[in-house]
């Protein structure tokens, strides 16, 4: 366990030091974005990596977290934390709704149903103008804590806590159950695993975590428009999970960090962020299906020889 404790210590140090190494307001903003992306990648990985359900609708839950919390705060005068709690629960409940489809559908059909889910959510945000303001957007949203550095510590701290929670979860018998469903649903069912219930658990928890990332997004950007939650956001989350290494705990974290910073480092390509994501996604699936984690393991094995 010492290795694990050392890793936790290194992670805490890295989070504490990051805003002082990247000390300009711009880079601190990127750090906040990175912490949010880590949360999103972790949430999708639970469903896609561990439970084996191709879910293209994760952007919907991110959107629900953002919109429900913001509307409760702005229109009803709620306190941030209470509104955030309700928003996370709302995203989780919506995740259960998608799980109802997942209980009946698999593979390509589930992928398209979940895509439809994201499209419908986006269209509702766009058209239900009385509540969401539609394309006009909601403006002047304040972050829960003042200052970019404070927001980074908050979101990164939450991301680290979620990581530890999920890490314990996937190493528990629950993790074995989810992996059993991923490997072979029929065999899992024959062992007495209630497929529908466990899929609902994974979708619900994954959706709640994406919603949790969502509650911090509006305060960070200051405005809220439906276009921030198009289906392409689901694809960027998927790119992070797959580039890092699907079905491992550390992979999506690495993927989120790499894909957040890569477009920034390749200055001049800043506008081409999604181009890089698309290319990375295709190349990794074709040549390195286990992502960076797999490449790293292979490299280490070769070095030892």
């Amino acid at each position: 366990m010492t290795g694990r404790h050392a890793a936790i210590a290194v992670a805490i140090l890295a989070i504490a030091a990051a805003p002082w190494i990247l000390a300009t307001p711009y880079w601190r903003g990127i750090l906040v974005l990175c912490a949010m992306n880590v949360l999103l990648a972790l949430s999708l990985n639970l469903v896609m990596g561990y439970t084996g359900q191709l879910n293209l609708g994760q952007s919907a839950f991110f959107a629900i977290g953002a919109y429900v919390s913001t509307i409760l705060i702005k229109s009803h005068g709620w306190n941030f934390w209470l509104a955030g709690l309700v928003a996370v629960l709302a995203a989780g409940v919506l995740g259960l709704a998608l799980a109802a489809f997942a209980a009946r559908l698999r593979g390509h059909y589930l992928a398209i149903a979940s895509l439809g889910f994201a499209v419908i959510t986006y269209q509702v945000l766009l058209n239900w103008e009385d509540v969401t303001q539609g394309v006009r957007g909601i403006y002047g949203i304040l972050p829960p804590v003042p200052g970019t550095t404070g927001l980074f510590y908050l979101v990164a701290g939450i991301a680290a806590a979620v990581y530890l929670l999920l890490d314990n979860l996937v190493r528990s018998p629950v993790g074995d159950t989810l992996r059993a469903i991923r490997e072979d649903e029929v065999s899992a069912a024959s062992l007495g695993i209630n497929r529908a219930a466990w899929k609902a658990f994974a979708f619900g928890l994954g959706a709640a975590i994406a919603g949790l990332a969502g509650i911090f997004y509006p305060g960070f950007v200051g405005t809220l428009v439906p276009d921030a939650f198009g289906i392409v956001e689901s694809f960027t989350m998927m790119a992070m999970v797959i580039v890092g290494g699907m079905g491992t705990m550390i992979g999506p974290v690495i993927g989120a960090i790499v894909l957040t910073f890569l477009p920034e480092v390749l200055r001049g390509f800043g506008e081409l962020r999604l181009l890089i994501y698309g290319l990375a996604l295709t190349l990794v699936v074709l040549f390195m299906p286990g992502g960076i984690v797999q490449a790293w393991t292979a490299l280490r094995a070769r070095m030892r020889r």
Binding site: L56, R104, Q123, T282
Partner: protein, 306 residues
Amino acid sequence: MPDLLALVVQQSVNGVYLGCLYVMVALGLTLIYGVLNQINFAHADFVTVGAFTAFFVATRFATRMLGLPDTGGYLLSLIAALGAGAVLGILVNAAVFAPLRRQGADELRPLIATIGVSVLLENGQLALFGPIPYQFDSPFARETIRLGPIFFSAQSVLVVAVSVASITALYVFMRFTFLGKALRAVAQDRETAGLMGINPNLVIALTIVIASALAGMGGALLGPVVVLTPFTGASLIVKAFAIVIIGGFGNMQGTIIAGLMVGVIEAFTVQYLGSGLIDLVVFALLLTMLVVRPTGLIAERKEENV
């Protein structure tokens, strides 16, 4: 004719015309699924590439460099878009589908890889052509034909004619030629077809090329009637998936019926509910269909995914 009846006929005409465009796109998806059991997520982006190819051929190359008249230029651009689609089909097969098949990858890896291709194509075109919509004038879109109280453009007649011709050609090919028979054999059972001396890899490549060529030409037909941006296809893909699922994945007749149905539903949605709600209505229909009858309108064979 009473006003209401005229309105219903008018919207049905619009719907059938839209539906024909959708069928051109969705048919390729269903064709690939039928033979390969795979989804090409970038399929609708081939439509965009076809539309841009047609735009540049019609407005720059044919009329200015070859000195063709407008109508000739546009018809030539249809062929060019067909070719562009076919080339993309060859590329995506060689780069994604064939290597992943050799690796024996599971069914979701090609889907994820083509999502990457889709994002790449959209943003590559965004970098090349910019976000500002292109005005693609088809000479046929300017001509309006009037039948009593019903109006439609010559473009819509062309769209329906080209779609019907393509679908007929595809049907004749599948039904009466040796290659078409081989294609159906591979769709039914790839291994057994291989044992009968059919080269499945060749047939699969051919299927993808035909499907992509249809998508490219669909783009040339669609370009003048929609807002042409790098994301034109992306807005279409969700509808194409809905059509394919409603019709029954891999089933061509089902796809044609569902395509026309979605076109008509869309026309009436615009009339009575507003154009903002189209995707909502179509997708609500899709999700309902998935719950009530996941095999689609016409269930072809035993489905392992549901």
